[in-house]
């Protein structure tokens, strides 16, 4: 039992005070906006300091929070926890700064005190989830996180869409918690303790059957939160309906709780697991990534599109975990470390660029008052800052060099490629196929972000609201600038950041590999210099030099030439209007047809006639895709649950005698079991 970490304690206290101040200013939205979010900013800064210190001086000292409860409220900031806490701190800092500006127009209409309370409660819950060192305390923090997230999702509860999304989220979240609880109980029964420290490498000592059960329960339980397919259906509903600052937190860090849980279980509680676990995780990762990006492509609600991309990126992270599990079992610890680093690097990268994209989308939605891309257009002229930041996020999430998404995808590719040589069984075919499907995912993501940036921001405005859009508050721009800068730092500075992972892989696998991943100080390498190198900083440098030279030469020539502005080709019609523009629906149509076996698209064309049957006065066009998972898995499941509860109504007679009888019978049964033990 060590002494409390002052920065971590102060950070947690700051979130707590923020929540209290939200309650205190329940009736004063203007004060709430300043005070509650100032505490959030302060708490984020303190957590950033605490986690940086913890990464610099790794320790696994635990200390108790002064709370009176049934179990130990122990907290620990070991390297893995510190990495996730740092991710939380960076994102929460930007989002809280953003909130100052974003919430200003809502002061008159909304209870910002409530928002401040739940917002700080969510941050507190998140920080405790990442640092809790005791299973029951972890689950309590998990519930604080889940329930405050529910309240934030339901913040605009007057809309039916919001209410149903929030309820689906709450139900699925709790189904996940049940699975985690069961897995923790199995472990705790075996360990005789609920401390995480006593779980270390313990799961591998369980009998094989239980080991598999614990693994799958944890994977599914954390998978619900992370949004792995097919447990993802709550995510694209819940993330978009929340206020945009909350959406950024939800997609950026709340789903990462699932990733944290998986990392903790896979690489701390488990020793080398059976090989099938890794193959399952890798396969689920591939499917999740592909399904996420395919649905995102057909989505024209800007925030829903981003939510589907969260599923895709979770898939990429889970792929890294799957590969790492397999390598560990096969005895290739250095490769396992590289795969873990790829996955964890992608975790922070995704938090940063998805946070950035949601903040930019929030700025757009606030200005245009719709989430439908088809009603935007031309915003790059009216909202230049937001457009630039969205573009940076789009390049980063598409994995294009030299930004951060490229670095983590490169590491994942390298791990998958090296995987081919680790075994001689047919299993090794999984690695290159997974790599090829990762390439498909990344290319589809790029296509999707051409749409997601091109349709709302480029060309002509497609609606009155888009034509009159205004740039949003400066605080929002600062926050987006911070995250955009982080995309550059994490991309160009990757070689300087890699050593941070040494304590994490040391703790998980007992190896440190950052030395073998850096060549000449400025290039990444895959294990050895022979196996492939890449230098985002070098690429950026040469890129700037070439662009500079080309621009200089071309502009010198253009000074003497005539440069005119003219209308774009309008197909001979009188003047180019937004009706001539390609729509988001049209943009994604080729892929809708090519992957029609997956989408099962439907469309309806209904012409309306006034006089002549040859000249329709109006044509109604509807096009959609089949929600496969909702229709074929969750629909029947829901019907089954409802049917079951209808049948159970028979025993709910409402008579006190019947209930007393139930209690009596239950007591007898329990006693019988107790005696038998």
């Amino acid at each position: 039992m060590g002494s409390p970490d002052p920065f971590l304690a102060a950070g947690l206290a700051s979130f707590f005070l923020g929540a209290v101040s939200g309650l205190a200013t329940w009736k004063r939205p203007a004060t709430a906006r300043i005070v509650a979010f100032a505490f959030a900013v302060l708490g984020s800064l303190l957590l950033a300091v605490a986690s940086c210190l913890a990464l610099a001086r790794p320790s696994s000292a635990t200390w108790s929070l002064p709370l009176v409860t049934l179990f130990q409220c122990t907290v620990r900031l070991d390297p893995l926890s510190a990495w996730f806490t740092l991710t939380l701190a960076i994102l929460a800092l930007a989002v809280s700064v953003y909130s100052f500006g974003y919430l200003r127009p809502l002061e008159r209409t909304r209870n910002l005190g409530a928002l401040g309370f739940f917002y700080n409660a969510l941050l507190l819950g998140l920080a405790l989830v990442f640092t809790a060192a005791n299973a029951f305390f972890f689950l309590s923090a998990w519930e604080v996180m889940a329930v405050s997230a529910f309240c934030l999702v339901a913040f605009e509860h007057e809309k039916a869409e919001t209410r149903s999304a929030a309820v689906v989220y709450l139900i699925m979240s709790h189904a996940g918690t049940v699975m985690m609880l069961a897995a923790f109980l199995l472990l705790a029964a075996f360990a005789g303790s609920t401390d995480f420290a006593s779980f270390h490498l313990l799961a591998s000592k369980l009998p094989p059957g239980e080991q598999g059960a614990v693994f799958l329960l944890f994977f599914a339980g954390f998978g619900v939160k992370a949004g792995i397919v097919p447990l993802h259906i709550w995510l694209p509903d819940a993330h978009p309906v929340a206020p945009s600052n909350v959406s950024a937190l939800m997609s950026g860090i709340v789903i990462k709780c699932g990733i944290y849980g998986m990392a903790r279980v896979f690489f701390d509680f488990f020793g080398p697991p059976p090989l099938w676990t890794g193959t399952v995780v890798l396969a689920v990762g591939v499917v999740t990534a592909l399904v996420g990006v395919l649905y995102a492509l057909q989505e024209h609600d800007l925030k829903r599109l981003l939510a589907y991309h969260s599923i895709e990126n979770i898939g990429i992270i889970v792929m890294g975990f799957g590969a790492a599990l397999m390598f560990r079992t096969l005895g290739h610890l250095n490769l396992a470390a590289m795969a873990i680093i790829g996955a964890l690097y992608h975790t922070v990268n995704h938090a940063i660029f998805k946070g950035l994209l949601f903040l930019a989308a929030g700025s757009v939605v606030q200005s245009v008052r719709t989430r439908n891309m088809e009603e935007m257009g031309g915003l790059i002229r009216r909202m230049p800052g937001t457009a630039l930041f969205f573009l940076v996020g789009a390049i980063a999430i598409s994995g294009l060099p030299p930004l951060n998404g490229f670095v983590s995808e490169w590491l994942t590719y390298q791990a998958l490629l090296a995987g081919f040589g680790t075994t001689h069984s047919l299993t090794r075919m999984m690695f290159p196929i997974a790599g090829a499907l990762l390439a498909l995912t990344a290319a589809l993501a790029a296509a999707c972000f051409v749409k997601a940036f091109g349709i709302p921001f480029l060309a002509l405005p497609r609606s009155e609201a888009a034509a009159n859009a205004r740039e949003t508050a400066p605080e929002m721009q600062y926050a987006m600038a911070l995250l955009a800068a982080a995309c550059f730092v994490l991309g160009l500075g990757a070689t300087w950041i890699l050593p941070v992972f040494d304590p994490i892989t040391q703790q998980a696998l007992g190896v440190q590999v950052s030395q073998s991943l850096v060549a000449h100080g400025f290039a990444l390498q895959a294990g050895t210099a022979q196996s492939g190198t890449v230098s985002p900083a070098g690429i950026a440098l040469v890129f700037l030099a070439l662009v500079g030279t080309a621009a200089f030469l071309v502009n010198r020539r253009l000074r003497r030439a005539r440069v005119a502005t003219g209308p774009a080709w309008d197909c001979g019609l009188p003047g180019l209007t937004s009706d001539n523009e390609y729509t988001a629906t049209a943009f994604s149509k080729p892929l809708r047809l090519i992957f029609s076996a997956f989408y099962r698209p439907n469309r309806e064309i209904r012409p309306e006639y006034d006089v002549s049957p040859y000249y329709p006065s109006a044509i109604r066009f509807e096009s959609g895709i089949e929600p496969t998972f909702e229709k074929h898995i969750y629909g029947p499941l829901k019907d089954w649950v409802f049917g079951l509860s209808r049948r159970m109504r028979a025993i709910q007679a409402g008579s006190i005698h019947a209930y007393l009888a139930y209690i009596f019978v239950t007591l007898i049964v329990l006693l019988l079991f107790g005696v038998r033990e």
């Binding site: 498909l440 290319a443 091109g454 003219g566």
Partner: protein, 313 residues
């Protein structure tokens, strides 16, 4: 350091000068095969020269993305070109990136081109962007799998390392894995460079355009940069195919003699490859757009079979 700089400059100049030549060669050969005279091998140089001399018209609807795109495309393609071994087994910027970086840098150029297509606001731009991104997305897994086959054989994603291993005596060019991956890569090359049967570089026929539709609004020096970039990309992918799969004659040292020998081999192999592209272009009709996925699925299957064949041989 200085050596790297010099080799980079040499290879850059080579890329810039040879790239239009390959395009001219293909055009002329194709014309001859169709019993036409053709414009002559040097026509692309004349086109570029003309474009850089002219003024230009920018569409009023476009933003800075439209202006930035030609530079991004040009620079990204040129950097990718410096990462592949061309006249020496040691690529000048091999340290900065291997085959993954090449694929993703080309992706960066494509990303901006597609945005510029949308930026004009005209229907054709959007049409081209949508089709280009679709085909690229489908070509990418096939390309990666073919690349993986080679990379796994050489145990590296560094193209210099692949070329070095491939020029050693233990390498089997005729191994089924290599041949199948080569075939897959050839199909991807056709798709990525916009050749018949995927796209027709010679036409501005509205309904079939892909690449040309995206850049329809460009003119003058900007069009020149984009066209130049496209021809560099074509040369780059052809060189990649040649030097990753058939690297014989490639010298491993940067010396005058070595460079000249390598260059002679490179030009010879480019000629052979150009002839085969011309044969494909002349003997095939352009495919319907929705048949292209079948072609790329075939490429993917070939590459996957190549990997499977490593179990057998």
């Amino acid at each position: 350091m200085i050596a790297v700089f010099l080799t980079a400059v040499v290879q850059l100049l080579l890329l810039l000068t040879v790239a239009p030549l390959v395009g001219g060669l293909i055009k002329t050969l194709k014309a001859r095969l169709q019993i036409r005279r053709g414009p002559g091998i040097l026509q692309p140089y004349r086109d570029l020269l003309k474009l850089f001399r002219k003024g230009m018209v920018l569409p009023g609807t476009a933003s800075w993305v439209f202006t930035a795109t030609p530079y991004v495309v040009f620079a990204a393609t040129a950097i990718a070109g410096l990462m592949i071994p061309m006249i020496s087994a040691k690529a000048p910027l091999g340290l900065f990136g291997g085959v993954l970086a090449v694929v993703y840098l080309l992706g960066l150029g494509r990303f901006f081109l597609a945005l510029a297509g949308l930026d004009t606001g005209s229907s054709f731009g959007g049409l081209g962007s949508s089709r280009e991104m679709t085909i690229a997305a489908l070509a990418e897994p096939a390309m990666m799998l073919a690349v993986f086959t080679v990379a796994i054989g050489a145990n590296s994603t560094s193209l210099s390392e692949i070329a070095k291993v491939a020029t050693s005596t233990t390498w089997h060019f005729l191994a089924p894995a290599q041949m199948l991956a080569f075939a897959a890569m050839f199909l991807v090359l056709i798709a990525e460079t916009g050749r018949i049967p995927v796209d027709n570089p010679a036409t501005h026929l509205e309904l079939t355009m892909i690449h040309e539709a995206m850049i329809l609004e460009y003119s003058g020096p900007y069009l020149g940069l984009i066209e130049w970039g496209a021809s560099i990309k074509q040369l780059l992918l052809m060189t990649l195919l040649i030097n990753a799969f058939l690297p014989f004659g490639l010298q491993s040292k940067w010396s005058l003699g070595g460079v000249l020998v390598s260059l002679a081999y490179l030009l010879l192999k480019l000629l052979v490859l150009a002839v085969s592209i011309v044969l494909v272009e002349t003997t095939n009709a352009k495919m319907r757009f929705f048949r292209v996925p079948d072609l790329l699925a075939m490429a993917f299957t070939l590459a996957a079979l190549g990997l499977v064949s490593t179990f057998l041989f």
